[in-house]
Amino acid sequence: MKIAAVAILTAVTALFTFVRVPFAPTRGYFNLSDMAIFFSALTIGPFTALLAGGLGTALADIISGYPQWAPISFVVHGLQGLVIGLLARRGGVLNLSMGAAAGTVTMCTGYLLGGWLILGLGPGPALAEVPINLLQNLAGIIGGVSLHLAVKKAYPPIAGISW
């Protein structure tokens, strides 16, 4: 069951990464990968979110022509899923807020350091990406929690899958 759950949620995360939401007329957009990661972490668990988040976003980066970001996405989104799952899955608004905040910090810091030091973009362009990542994360938190509640209500057997 674990392998099947991780595989399907990896594919779901990759699909959500392909979905682009424009936020500015200048072709600026963000993706919904964080929504899938929040959903996986809250609904299934931290380890599924770790693998599905990391592998799904890395595969999406490779397929959509941004393979240079794949190693960074794998580590950053994987850690983001693990952190959210460990903190937010205990239930309660406080834990959920802590998980969301920790996930956002992990993702923004990871991409900042990855872009700056690993891909060698320098401090300016790496910092310029932070607001977009924050916006993407905020949409991910709202959407991920909404999806978690909606799917739990519409498909109760999901409660039986946990890792």
Binding site: V6, G65, V151, Y155
Partner: protein
């Protein structure tokens, strides 16, 4: 795969001309392997970032001769321009190398070689299944989007660039896709179990029979019986 080993060269403190020559060599290899499209496409995808690097790097690096001075403050210097060019070459080179790797490597062969090099079988299986499911879920997403747009009618299209309104409009579609995807987990799990994945008792191997004297005796007797039965037939023919 070998090309990726050359990535660290872009991080060495080499003269810009040398790095540019190295980038030109990679562009040439990409052109030979992938054609002109294979060179232009990755550059177009990173163009906004390259513009950001060009605009935002010089204010952080003010060494060297002043180039643009506004109100007594050095805005752009030769050191800043050099650093911006170095970063542009580095990022373009890294992008092109990864693009070349992703487009000249067979995904199945890559995963198989990862397994040979010690990657856990379960992880290999997850990646392989996920890669099979991505096109299926993409088709499912399109079908669900079409179904929802038919229900809502043409006036329901989101106007403007409010990201939250757009995300809100996408939520019903994403919920339907997620439920459809999650329903496949038990089915896939059962299929994997049927194939023996996750079983604690390992799959049996073929039993190796030892070449004993008894086997040879059985074979000889069987052959003798056939010959005895065939003797009358041979006599008639003669």
């Amino acid at each position: 795969m070998v090309l990726l080993a050359y990535l660290p060269v872009f991080f060495l403190p080499l003269p810009i001309l040398m790095l540019a020559g190295y980038l030109a060599a990679i562009v040439f290899i990409s052109f030979l392997c992938l054609g002109p499209r294979g060179v232009i496409r990755p550059f177009l995808s990173i163009l906004p970032i390259l513009i950001l690097v060009l605009l935002l790097t010089p204010p952080f690096q003010r060494e060297g001769e002043p180039f643009i001075v506004i109100g007594g403050r050095i805005l752009v210097s030769t050191g800043g321009i050099n650093e911006a060019l170095r970063l542009i070459i580095r990022f373009s080179g890294i992008t092109l190398l990864f693009y070349l790797f992703a487009n000249t490597t067979n995904a199945d062969l890559f995963i198989t070689s990862c397994y040979r090099m010690g990657m856990p079988f379960n992880l290999v299986l997850v990646v392989t299944i996920a890669m099979r499911y991505i096109p299926h879920l993409t088709t499912l997403y399109r079908e669900v989007t079409d179904a929802h747009s038919l229900r809502r009618g043409p006036d329901a299209a989101v106007r403007g660039f409010s990201p939250f309104r757009r995300v809100k409009a996408l939520l019903p579609v994403l919920t339907s896709v997620l439920i459809q995807a999650i329903r496949q987990i038990p089915v896939l799990s059962m299929a994997l179990e049927c194939r023996g994945v996750g079983r604690k008792v390992k799959r049996s191997t073929y039993l190796e029979l030892k070449n004993r004297a008894g086997v040879m005796a059985d074979f000889s007797i069987s052959l003798l019986i056939i010959i005895i039965l065939l003797i009358p037939l041979i006599r008639e023919m003669v």
